[in-house]
Assembly symmetry: C2
Homo-oligomer: 334 residues x 2
Amino acid sequence: MNKFTPETRAPHQALAQALAPDLAQVDALIRARMASEHAPRIPEVTAHLIEAGGKRIRPMLVLAAARLCGYGGHFHHHLAATVEFIHTATLLHDDVVDESAQRRGRATANLLWDNKSSVLVGDYLFARAFQMMVECGSLSVLDILSNAAATIAEGEVLQLSTAANLSTTEEQYLRVIRGKTAALFSAATEAGAVLAEAPAAQVGALRDYGDALGVSFQMVDDWLDYGGAGTGIGKNIGDDFRERKLTLPVIRAVVRADATERAFWQRVIESGAQEQGDFEAAQEIIARHGSLEETRQEALDWSARARNALTELPDHPLREMLDGLADYVVSRLY
Amino acid sequence: MNKFTPETRAPHQALAQALAPDLAQVDALIRARMASEHAPRIPEVTAHLIEAGGKRIRPMLVLAAARLCGYGGHFHHHLAATVEFIHTATLLHDDVVDESAQRRGRATANLLWDNKSSVLVGDYLFARAFQMMVECGSLSVLDILSNAAATIAEGEVLQLSTAANLSTTEEQYLRVIRGKTAALFSAATEAGAVLAEAPAAQVGALRDYGDALGVSFQMVDDWLDYGGAGTGIGKNIGDDFRERKLTLPVIRAVVRADATERAFWQRVIESGAQEQGDFEAAQEIIARHGSLEETRQEALDWSARARNALTELPDHPLREMLDGLADYVVSRLY
């Protein structure tokens, strides 16, 4: 069913090609600004994240939004580098783990260096991001990014306190995934449009696109963690279950649980006393209550919402690529 | 020799009294903005730091600078709350420790909660600080604070890499203590003046005052750690030695070390193989080379520089209090 075969070019690759000259400038800016004359450890820590060749989705969202709205200046490069720095800083801070988690032995930056370096270098990237934003000279852009930063941090703290908590609501779940993904996606597209001084309707449309794209993206991830076996995308399934995260498939199954199932969720999620076969039992319960299929449908709905928002925007090849991107995100569901 | 006896009012208390109505507004703002409707853990983590009744030196520097330059608006409250949030966030992030350090068993926020909460709540405070700054509506203020944030983070990373490193230079030391203390002090006074649209000479004077005050403050701290026995100020001496920090008294003693002393410093600082009596031996070497007395003199010089900067400013009771504060900082040296 996946129409994006290795033979066809995926939308993010089309975007990267259309935005290649801009992206080269952004990469140069990222390299220049992550350097520190006085603290050479900084690029050591960041390089393995920034050079690792991420897809640069967030910078591309900034660039595409600005270009789509007719921006002719060069501060969209600063803004694109800004969102990539914020993203990298949050990755570094996410890697800081408690002693218990460290024992699980993940090969994150904090193990290659140490917790303290991850925290302080993340702070440095936040500060450098903030400097680049100020250079853009737009208080509206600063307002959008500062609100996104608060939403991200609030979502991360909320995720800590909802883990292993069976009373987590769908509203809280949505807030967590907005913090994790959608807040920076929507800030990227909205700020790109604001930088281009686009009309309010276009700014709103691009913000809604970024938000819906991010929510859809994260819901697909959460679906894959229970339903992704055999999709061939190489993601390990069951991670959320082992980390006792309350994602949408589980939240809906818990609401509909009978007494036996409730006892099961209490044992595996609340108490964390997981045994061999529990993940498969969880998959079976989730499928039986239809909450896996519902999560898939929600992800498709959010993708459709993202594509629908784009109808506010002028006809443009970049608009088609953003449309394709929203389609691509949910292609992992098949 | 200390002229600030318990009977006389210390300058920070005089400032607190002169700025009491402003400080009450700042406290209300701090309380309102550290709350999070959706993540109640946030005020739990910050309250013990913010409510602990710090001296609010940084907010007072903002308020005094703005008032001294004739500011009549109300955004100095936002700016004052901003610098307190940034300060609190850096404290939270400083508390994040590596596994090895955790074993030393300090009772920091990261032990009461965990590393991850300290990091994410610190990020939340940074984001909230950033939002309040944007509300002030001044790109110049944002520029000052974003540069300070980068200097702070760079200094913190530099401190990590200079620890236990005997080749640390005085220039690096100065950069570290600017990051630790002086960068936020000078950003506070400079941004306060800029908010008040003060003439460039006054802005520069207040920036220089904050910088010199911060450098002096930190040098006094570093002096106390080797020379503070019997000053009755309740500071534990020897902490920097045990943490193998390269502070000014040590840097100058290392430069003048003969072969025997060099071997001593290599063992206790570079290798960290400290034994009973080593701290006393270090004190003796530092005193013999005159580097303890020189550190004291440097701290006094920076205090004088701070007071001298104030002569650019109009005659004002707040100017006298800032002058007294620079005097008070070094009063711990006697």
